[in-house]
Amino acid sequence: METAISVRGLRKNYKTYKREDGFLASVRSVIHRDFSTKEALKGINFDIAKGEILGFIGPNGAGKSTAIKVLCGILHPTAGEVNSLGHTPWEDRINYAQKFGVVFGQKSQLDWDLPPNDTFHLIKALYGIPEAAFKRRLNYMVKLLNVEAIYKTPTRNLSLGERMKCEVIAALLHNPKLVLLDEPTIGMDVVAKKKLHGFIKRINEKYNTTFIITTHDMGDIEKLCKRVIIINNGDIVYDGLLEELKKKHINNKLIEVKFEDKTRIRVPKRCKLISRTPYTLKFEVPVKGQSLDKFVVDIIKNYPVADIVISDPPIEEIIRDIYQA
């Protein structure tokens, strides 16, 4: 399998300046400021193959965004080598930019007052995309994501889900070999998320595009990624298949129940209670050795349940588990 990206010894240190408040301190700060060094990335190594969909997870401040920015070529590392699609991202920016696309969940590139279509045409001009290829790709993606009705409406009139879909289209118009998605499904509803997942898979299958997804949403990871890299405190703590991760480290499921009336329920044995109020209950159920479905059905049958949510434990717990193993 061909390598798309190879990273060796990637290190990034930041200077964080001590906060200077007050007039005298500010004046003094022009000459000299106290600073401490934060190690955002401590010399990480990894390879990504062409056509892979990789999940990049970790708690906030773990170094994910830093790594992504280095791969975008907008951050110059303190040390280390990065080869992405045959380029060193921060050195060969303009040529490299033709080959990759980014979607930042929080920062939109679509012009607010104009329809996404106008921004698409600007992108066509900036990347020099030939007319025929542009039309083909645009129509393909618009149909696939179901935005035909709205992509000619001003961006400010669109819902978040619609906007994100157009953001993704904008990032893929120039047929990049690599796409970085930073929190792409934030604020999206279930239906929109599903559409986006399907879209990413289709593009990946059709064009063999490499995807790197940074997210807190384990649902994204589950649906899309075979392999995950977990970063914590600037180090890679796990680099392997998702299946393995789940088998080894996800032992519990988190269940949150909301009741219609005040209920006092005894927490079953082998379950760990997280929190309880007269109307709610949050606890962890071990996945091994018992049928989760039967368990949930039991609760619903015997108690006045208004809502029940089953989710994976937070990433921090998985990481904690990795360290203990």
Partner: protein
């Protein structure tokens, strides 16, 4: 100092300005810049007079009184109520106007009470400075009546500008995308920079009765200088009240349209 310490010092000496300082510096520069805008007219007038030109019937310091009074009136209004137009248009854009609507107080009062504008103080300060400078150099003692008229017309000017703000805010409800409507009402003040007599008799009438910008500068200055009759003051107050009523009516219509259309 050892070499390594010097290297450390060199490292930390850069173009970094601490956030605290940057924000305060920015704010200070902003206020100075705002004040400079208010000195445009006085300096232009000063240059005009120093090149041996003049407004017929106005000495240099009388003209400066006119222009200083305008800045003062604008400053007062800015501090008190100008946020209405800007804030409501911004809120409509962001969609947060609804939260104003569900409060028990009328949204207009809420906007006035909630958002006093500190920038206005800079304008007010500039205006006061110019006015006092002009008064100091005028060899003229206003009578009590003159001063009373002066203050009454100034208050009328503030009310008039408030009325314009309300009109502009109302217009924004009808033309949601047009931020420039706000600019338009602000820029109308250009007609108050000089004695309205320069616009000829037609202009004079227009700027007294139709778009009464004369109330901002010309008439208060005339009042101070003892050249205004009480009947004129009464007429100006009437015109101002009329404008204010019209603006409130426009606001009512705008509110109705907003609630019926569902935003």
């Amino acid at each position: 100092m050892t070499i390594s310490k010097w290297k450390l010092y060199k490292q930390s000496f850069n173009l970094e300005v601490s956030s605290w300082m940057a924000y305060r510096l920015n704010f200070a520069l902003f206020l100075i810049g705002l004040a400079i805008f208010n000195f445009f007219s006085p300096i232009v007038i000063y240059l005009i007079y120093s090149n041996n030109l003049s407004f017929p019937g106005w000495s240099l310091y009388e003209a400066l009184l006119l222009v200083g009074t305008m800045s003062t009136v604008i400053g007062i209004e800015h501090v008190l109520t100008s946020s209405i137009g800007w804030a409501s248009s911004e809120m409509i854009r962001q969609g947060t106007f609804d939260q104003m609507m569900i409060r028990p107080i009328s949204p207009l009062k809420l906007l006035v009470l909630r958002l006093p504008d500190v920038d206005g103080l800079a304008e007010f300060a500039a205006g006061i400075m110019i006015t006092l400078y002009a008064i100091y150099h005028l060899a003229f003692m206003p009578t009590f009546m003159n001063l009373l008229m002066y203050f009454i017309v100034i208050i009328a000017g503030v009310v008039l500008l408030t009325a314009f703000d309300i009109m502009s805010a109302s217009a924004n409800f009808f033309f949601v995308k047009a931020n420039a409507i706000w600019d338009f009402f602000i820029e109308l003040r250009m007609f108050a920079r000089y004695p309205i007599t320069i616009f000829g008799s037609l202009g004079y009438v227009f700027l007294t009765f139709i778009i009464p910008m004369g109330i901002l500068s010309y008439y208060p200055a005339q009042a101070f200088l003892g050249r205004l009759a009480w009947s004129s003051v009464a007429l100006l107050v009437l015109i101002t009240i009329l404008f204010f009523v019209i603006s409130l009516i426009m606001w009512e219509f705008a509110m109705r349209k907003y609630t019926s259309a569902g935003g």
